[in-house]
Amino acid sequence: MTLLFRRPSEMRLLVWVAALAVTGSVAVAAAEKTAFDRSQLAVPVAFIVLAVGLHLFLVVRGFRGDQLLLPMAAALSAIGLVLVQRLASSLLANQLQWTLIAAGAFIATILIPRDLTALARFKWMWALLGVALLVSPLLPVIGREVNGARIWIGVGRVTFEPWEAVKILLVIFFAGYLEEYREVIAHPRRFGPIPIPPVPYLLPILAMWLFAMLVVVFEKDLGAALLFLGIFLAMLYLATGESFYTLIGIVLMLIGGVVVYHAFGHVQVRVDTWLKPFSEDLRFGAGYQIVQGLFALANGGLFGAGLGNGMPDRIPVVWSDFVFNAFAEETGFAGALALLALYLLFVYRGMLIALRAPTPFLQLMAGGLSFIVALQTLVIVGGNARLIPLTGITLPFVAYGGSSLVTNWILVALLIRVSDLTARVRGTE
């Protein structure tokens, strides 16, 4: 009995998540058929059992520290399952399987690296592994091309987007690298207000930039390149507090963007559909998706059409690229605002964990991981709302897709571990 109350806030929040999952599923199921079918409840119930299982696992392991991230991630995943049921019910079983695998990955991350700080020692191995994974879709047998982007690897029916795993490896590598060289990079000699960077230590930056651009060129993956650079610049800034580096990075990114725009057709299409999706030749062509997405957003109004009552099916590939618009159409501005607030709270919590972490490596890692969630949300929601060009980044936890879900749950596990370690070192609850 005492076990149940070791992490009381987490347990209580999970009760709300359970209510949310069941209500959402019932609303969608009831709207589809006029008679309610009880077997539909199997999915949310399975999900709740899984989430409570993870909670109990943390309790049994005697974890201290954060009790907010697990329920937050569970709530977002629950919304994800409700939306998959709504938008692509044939994929629901698939998504539930991936959720199970994600839970397994969560548990593995909690158990396996015995000493979290030891991750820093293998930083070059992570970098190498990341690069290998990043180029793996280009290999002949396992690489797959889907919708014009060659970013998948597959064995048989199972496909995986290696980029998703790479972003976590990158954060660990950067954290390790920056912990070691931060002093040199953080205090450059200055020429007036302009710092002269210690070039040898910054070579990895240029290497990363080049590499990201190569990824865009060969894998046609705009979103990945953007995330890649974003993570790097953010972590460089976190480590050094030197805004000039960020400025250089953004300038390099803009130059890279202009070059890539003029050199590659698929980038031009993305930018054109962003600038003028309603033009005669794009409206029913390349711009169709974004146009329908905007109609869905507009249709949502303040409180939306109600779950299961909108017309999000009109957006092509809505379940993976445009879940935000579907959610906004059916739950309105109110729902969309709540969803964004959930992400905000998640990232805020992650940054707090980073601030309190006991070593620079853990601080940088936790900060970088939280930043991934923030940047991904910003880039995809911005793309969906036509504030920036649309890229193929997933909305964390919510969008349909296995690789993304598994990676995000690993990310949560890492943040919870940092928080647990902090609580042990500092002697807090």
């Binding site: 709300w16 209510a19 209500t23 609303a27 709207a31 709540a338 969803l339 709270l345 070593t359 609850e429």
Partner: protein, 142 residues
């Protein structure tokens, strides 16, 4: 019958939105409480206590709460700023790595001393050790 089903359907939809907000507020409450307890209970990772200092600031007995990384030096921008002319502007850093404290001299003019011995570059320090920067001697304590 038709009407009641429609009403129920709307009730469920509204309930979903309400639950979303309720969860959000509860989560916010948990965060606030967690932040409050963390602030109240948290001990610093360590403290530096001033042992000897010929000048007036910092006075002997003053305690500096340590963070994961601490810059020590004469500049006001340091975490531990020592207005001592024998200390360099950016003198040393005291860092926690793998739950151990390490001090690193940043190429200071007069060097950094641990228990009276000048350190080369980076050295491990334990609780109870004395660190001297310029003419200020400080002891690392929990």
């Amino acid at each position: 019958m038709e009407i009641t089903f429609g009403v129920l359907l709307w009730a469920v939809r509204i309930a979903f939105l309400l639950l979303l907000y309720l969860f959000l507020f509860r989560a916010f409450g948990v965060l606030q409480r967690a932040m409050a307890t963390e602030r109240a209970q948290s001990k610093p990772l360590g403290t530096l206590v001033v042992e000897r200092n010929p000048s007036r600031t910092p006075r002997v007995g003053e305690r500096f709460a340590l963070r994961a990384t601490n810059a020590i030096g004469r500049d006001a921008g340091n975490d531990i700023s020592l207005p001592d002319e024998a200390a360099s502007a950016r003198h040393a850093t005291l860092e926690m790595r793998d739950e151990e404290w390490w001090i690193e001299d940043l190429g200071s003019t007069n060097g950094t001393l641990v228990n009276g011995a000048r350190i080369e570059k980076r050295e491990r320090v334990r609780f109870g050790d004395e660190i001297a920067v310029g003419r200020v001697a400080m002891r690392l304590e929990r």
